[in-house]
Amino acid sequence: MLYIENLHKTFNADTINEKQVLKGVNLHLNPGDFVTIIGGNGAGKSTLLNMIAGVHPVDSGSLKLDGIDITKQPEHVRAKLLGRVFQDPMKGTAANMEIQENLALAYRRGKKRGLRWGISSDEKQQYVEVLKTLDLGLENRLSSKVGLLSGGQRQALTLLMATLVKPKLLLLDEHTAALDPKTAKKVLDLTETIVESNNLTALMVTHNMKDAIHIGNRLIMMHDGNIIFDISGEEKKNLQVSDLLQKFEQASGGEFANDRMMLA
């Protein structure tokens, strides 16, 4: 499904601010894998997702998705294969466009946008149906501007948009981190439902260790630009937060887990 080979990335190379973010990451995903990624700040989790999405060019290494070499593909070309939800709820939707217009934009991911009308009436009916699954009452507000929605509603909508055309890989970059706990839980439940019912392959970065353990079938811990822990199946199910903290301490050489990880 996804093959990442020896991926390297350094920001601000040859300057005083040089930062090696990824130091030869290798990762293979099987179809249907739902992988959670944890790790401290600066471990390279978000960068890994951004590299897969094509936000930054790779320094060396290769990326293959669904048999296609996407290492050098521009961001908008590989978008055909990817669904993305960002940490910032504002980032995944166009605030001054209507809910249905946003969905129509997502519905055309990977297709050529020509001079046909932006939304067909058949589509609108379809959008009502999918919005009903969110159970947020958005199905009655098709022509409301997205800017009027709350952060949680926008994030739920983004999730829907990312999966409206089934992606080969869904990238979730701390997509519940900016939400209050109750809303975060709702969006997370929704994520599980959508991933399961569409049988998607997904990568989810999170700072919440409990979520990382309970969600998905595989867990990866990153530290200092490398994957230091990769666990799946039964072993993952029996994992405890304390195990993860211990792993993290080992990896960081006794240094304490940072606040955000402890809080989780």
Partner: protein
């Protein structure tokens, strides 16, 4: 009566300049960039149209060429900005400055009169029967014809723009202006959208330049000076009069009405004795105030 004629003439000018305002609306409001190319592309449209007419071209055909030339100017700015990563304001200024030289080359001299040539205004005058001509003052007729031309172009462009921004490509262009990261993640080449937006915008601006040059009967290499400010003035005045309307149709109309009101205001203050030389200062102050109003309102709330 003097004021009546001044308003009539100003309305006609306002309608022709409204085409410019629509172009600036596309970059400034929809694409969310300040494009400085417009000063140059406005004059480009005017100079090219005048030169072509003088060398025997059909006035309407000359406008078509003006539009294409304006689009080419927009494409250059877009290329400098998206492919060479030059900040958009600087890219626009570079195009604008180079267009000054190009316009001088096209015109061959700093200005060129159309006295002995046909323009769209004189073409229409020819088909008006003499019986009507006899009953109406020459200058009034002129203003009425210009108003007619302006209304035709305004209505036509409103329809075309409304249609285009409702299509898949047009929606993607709007999304590019609102949330670039999002629409790129949805598989759209945003560089291409920005170039397209700049092309459409500058095509319209050059069309406006051609129309204005033909209506005033001459082309001038500095006729585009301050075009961006005039366009912005039209947009903000339209917003003041129409309020924060949400539908795209009414926004387009508000830009056109704003342009007319702007010209009428200028005509009135000129009648009241404003020195013509101060017109640009006056315009800049209007725009500065209008753009500052949201900030001032917010601060006023904080003081309370």
């Amino acid at each position: 009566m003097n004021i009546f004629f001044a308003i009539l003439s100003a309305s006609g000018q306002g309608l022709l300049w409204a085409v410019l305002a629509l172009g600036i609306y596309i970059t400034f409001k929809i694409l969310n960039v300040a494009d400085m190319t417009c000063d140059g592309s406005f004059a480009l449209g005017g100079c090219l149209s005048v030169t072509l007419i003088v060398s025997g071209w059909n006035p309407i055909l000359s406008l078509l060429l003006s539009v294409l030339a304006g689009m080419a100017a927009g494409m250059v700015t877009g290329f400098l900005h998206t492919k060479l990563k030059i900040p958009v304001i600087l890219a626009g200024i570079l195009s604008m400055i180079s267009l000054y030289s190009i316009n001088l080359r096209i015109l061959g001299q700093p200005n060129q009169s159309l006295l002995k040539s046909d323009t769209i205004v004189t073409m229409i005058k020819k088909v008006i029967p003499d019986s009507v001509m006899d009953h109406i003052k020459y200058s009034t007729l002129n203003s009425l014809i210009v108003i007619g031309i302006g209304i035709i172009f305004g209505v036509l462009l409103c329809f075309v723009l409304y249609w285009f921004f409702g299509t898949e490509a047009g929606s993607a262009l709007r999304a590019t202006g609102t949330n670039e990261d999002m629409i790129r993640a949805l598989g759209q080449n945003t560089d291409r959208m920005k170039i397209l937006g700049l092309m459409i915008s500058n095509g319209l601006i050059a069309l406006s330049g051609g129309l204005v040059a033909q209506s005033q009967g001459y082309g001038d290499v500095i006729m585009g000076q301050g075009a961006i400010v005039i366009g912005l003035a039209s947009i903000v005045i339209g917003e003041v009069f129409f309020g924060r309307c949400t539908s795209f149709k009414s926004k387009l109309i508000s830009v056109i009405v704003g342009s007319v009101i702007y010209r009428v205001i200028i005509a009135l203050v000129l009648q009241l004795g404003l020195n013509n030389n101060d017109q640009k200062l006056f315009t800049a102050i209007i725009v500065a105030i209008a753009l500052a109003v949201p900030t001032i309102k917010k601060q006023a709330q904080n003081w309370r």
